[in-house]
Amino acid sequence: MFYREAGDFKTSYSADSATFPILFDRYRYYLVLIVGAGIIPFVLNDYWANSILIPFLIYAIAAMGLNILTGYCGQVSLGTGGFMAVGAYTSYKLMTAFPGLDMISVTLLSGLMTAMVGLAFGLPSLRIKGFYLAVATLAAQFFLVWLFNKVGWFYNYSASGQISAPTRDFFYFTNIAVTGPSAESWAKYLFCFMFVFVLAWVARNLTRGSMGRQWMAIRDMDIAAEIIGVNPLKAKLTAFAVSSFYVGISGALLFTVYLGAVEVGEAYGITKSFLVLFMIIIGGLGSIFGSFAGAAFMVILPVFLRNFLTGTMNWDSALATHFEFVIVGGLIMFFLIVEPHGLARLWALVKDKLRLWPFPH
């Protein structure tokens, strides 16, 4: 009844190309923002922050990044873990070399550094496509992890080979730590929330405008894209750069805010690349909302299963952990068969149905 386009007339082209053209959607979005930024930080406890909300926000950034590259521009990448490691190690070097630097600058600079690395590893995409490109990015994944393991300079020659985040502030002149042991959950949460908000907004702007159309044109039919005036070199490389920027920020946040201490092979190995890839496949390729949905699915489901199996069913925790893998894997397959376009498509279907509800005829 309330979810209608009818009567909501658009009188300008800018209103027609708005992100949430339906009034109800717009209000829902504002509600999510208000709850996310204004209410959750006050009622947040450590368990919710550390096991669900913060990883969800951080992986949502990575998923958006990979979605820009794979979902919008059609370039398959298996190097996400490696690029996240670039973000993490850049932030570590910046934090230790410039103790005065605030975390916003550190994180943004880490993103920029990763964008440059991504640009370099994106160069093969000009000559190779599809599975072959995936293999080339796989090389980036293994090379980067090897590099951070091998060269002592990156981890400041620490004996364990680990990197750990020192305490740093949110921004200049503020005394709110977002990294290190003394950081409060709500501060970490808000810090990530802010990045997610801005990056999602930017991603949406890029993908609805001329840049996004160039990416999608390359994805759908690269020959036709070229004939219409898309410079494939520029379009693919910007996709790699923007995508790596997002992935780098996500990797930096994962290390500085969430994990605190990291061993590169463990935190940023090939499994991380697959995790983010699963997120966008389950969430929906070529959809910003899908990135969020996929990240939520992959973060919340294991936590939920673990609590359900050990808590409600009283299973042995080792058994529960193994069953968790089985169930998550099974669900992924189920999803791919039933809804290959992901949660975003399901969501769109629900919205289509809602438009006619409760009188579908």
């Binding site: 800018s14 405008g209 001329s210 160039q214 044109a217 759908d220 070229e226 004939i227 219409i228 410079n231």
Partner: protein
């Protein structure tokens, strides 16, 4: 005799045909040992409808691919507006104001009709990556301005009702029309159409013919057309190039071409004895 570089003429139905905009000189294109095009020369005048015809495998599409920069001929030169064109990538050719459609529809299937047409406006959009990321101000103004242009084209081709439909869901005839819309959105000076009527029924062909004439009439767009339907070609075009086995066997008005013995032989076959 007209001076090709400067003079034009007026056709019988009162359309102004300008001087030569594009000239092919001795184009030869080889794929390994196969000569797809052998030493072909012809010119295209501003504002005319120029047809390229010939039996299958004559090299018509290859010729179009040479014009749009997909293939680079081994011999010969392309002159555009009196200037010799260096070997160019297709997207650079597009920036010179040459748009085309494909024989097998090459639309962006995952995007809506509107997005497809807007992609055609690409060369008119200049705001950089950062401006687009922020959206407000310049990027939005540019988007709206180009949207208005895209809507004009959508109006012109009568596809308003499907503007938000994903292209993948459209039937064949409409896809052909959307592809024309995308090419037109670029406001091209030369429009290359590769078999725009292939696989259409009579009504759709009539619609498409009308669109082609209207485009030529209203925007003054020069049109280069490959088509197999002789009736359409003879009715629409001002001048016709006939190719066979990569060679040019005829060039002139539809009337001249129709009476050319070599052309008749190529189409009807001739006994080689």
């Amino acid at each position: 005799m007209l001076d090709n570089a400067t003079e034009g003429y007026v056709t019988a139905d009162g359309r102004q045909i300008g001087p030569v905009v594009m000239e092919m000189k001795g184009i030869t294109l080889r794929f390994g040992g196969v000569e797809a095009i052998r030493g072909i020369s012809f010119d295209i005048r501003e504002g005319e409808i120029r047809a390229i015809i010939g039996p299958n495998g004559a090299g018509k599409s290859s010729m179009l691919n040479v014009i749009s920069g997909f293939y680079h001929p081994q011999e010969g030169e392309v002159f555009y507006r009196g200037v010799k064109r260096p070997p160019m990538k297709p997207y650079m050719v597009a920036r010179q104001g040459i748009a085309r459609t494909f024989q097998n529809i090459a639309l962006f299937e995952g995007m809506s009709v509107l997005d497809n047409v807007m992609t055609g406006r690409l060369n008119h959009m200049k705001v950089g990556l950062l401006g687009q990321a922020l959206w407000w101000g310049k990027a939005e103004a540019e988007e709206v301005k180009n949207r208005a242009k895209a809507e004009e084209v959508i109006d012109f081709l009568g596809i308003q009702a499907i503007r938000k439909t994903p292209v993948g869901r459209l039937p064949y005839g409409l896809k052909k029309r959307v592809e024309l819309a995308r090419a037109l959105a670029a406001e091209p000076q030369i429009l290359l159409l590769d078999e725009p009527m292939a696989g259409m029924n009579v009504e759709e062909k009539e619609d498409m013919s009308r669109f082609i004439l209207d485009v030529n009439d209203e925007f003054g767009t020069t049109i280069v057309l490959i088509e197999h339907d002789m009736g359409v070609v003879m009715d629409l075009s001002d001048r016709v190039v006939v190719m066979d086995y990569g060679k040019k066997i005829g060039d002139g008005t539809p009337e001249e071409v129709r009476n050319n013995q070599e052309v008749i032989d190529a189409y009807l076959g001739v006994s080689h004895d």
